[in-house]
């Protein structure tokens, strides 16, 4: 059940960050028009970025762990 709560927290954090970033990149003041196409592309780009960052970070942790740094 703890694992499940953490999973929920992670999805909530992901949704919040994507919404903030894609709102910032796709919509501009006076916010009269929806930009659904841009939001969909931005979501796809963000998920790909998440994977790139995640791989790079885990690689650094493993490298530091192998070399005895941590």
């Amino acid at each position: 059940q703890i694992a499940q709560e953490l999973a929920v927290a992670n999805v909530t954090e992901l949704v919040n960050k994507i919404t903030e970033n894609c709102f910032e990149k796709c919509l501009t003041s006076p916010y009269a028009n929806a930009q659904e196409g841009c939001v969909d592309q931005c979501l796809a780009k963000y998920m790909r970025s998440w994977n790139v960052i995640s791989k790079a970070y885990v690689a650094r942790i493993q490298q530091a762990s192998t070399s005895g740094e941590i």
């Binding site: 999805v11 992901l14 949704v15 994507i18 919404t19 894609c22 709102f23 796709c26 919509l27 501009t28 003041s29 006076p30 916010y31 009269a32 929806a34 659904e36 939001v39 969909d40 979501l43 998920m47």
Partner: protein
């Protein structure tokens, strides 16, 4: 049981208020560029209304988009 109902109502009221704080903080930065007087112009008020509605649209679209990825 009445206490539980009270706590749940307080909790959701609290969440709504915290969201209003977040949205006001974000939309005020974008929709009120300069301080000339204490009133809101029609244009500023319209921008604030659009801002929160477009943000919520974006949020809903991101949630649906992530659900369709699963």
């Amino acid at each position: 049981k009445e206490i539980m109902t009270f706590l749940e109502a307080e909790n959701s009221k609290q969440k709504v208020q915290m969201s209003v704080h977040q949205f006001t903080n974000m939309c005020f930065k974008q929709c009120v560029p300069a301080i000339n007087n204490g009133d809101l112009s029609t244009h500023e008020e319209q921008c604030l209304n659009n801002c929160v509605n477009r943000f919520l649209d974006t949020n809903i679209r991101i949630v649906k988009g992530l659900q369709s990825l699963q």
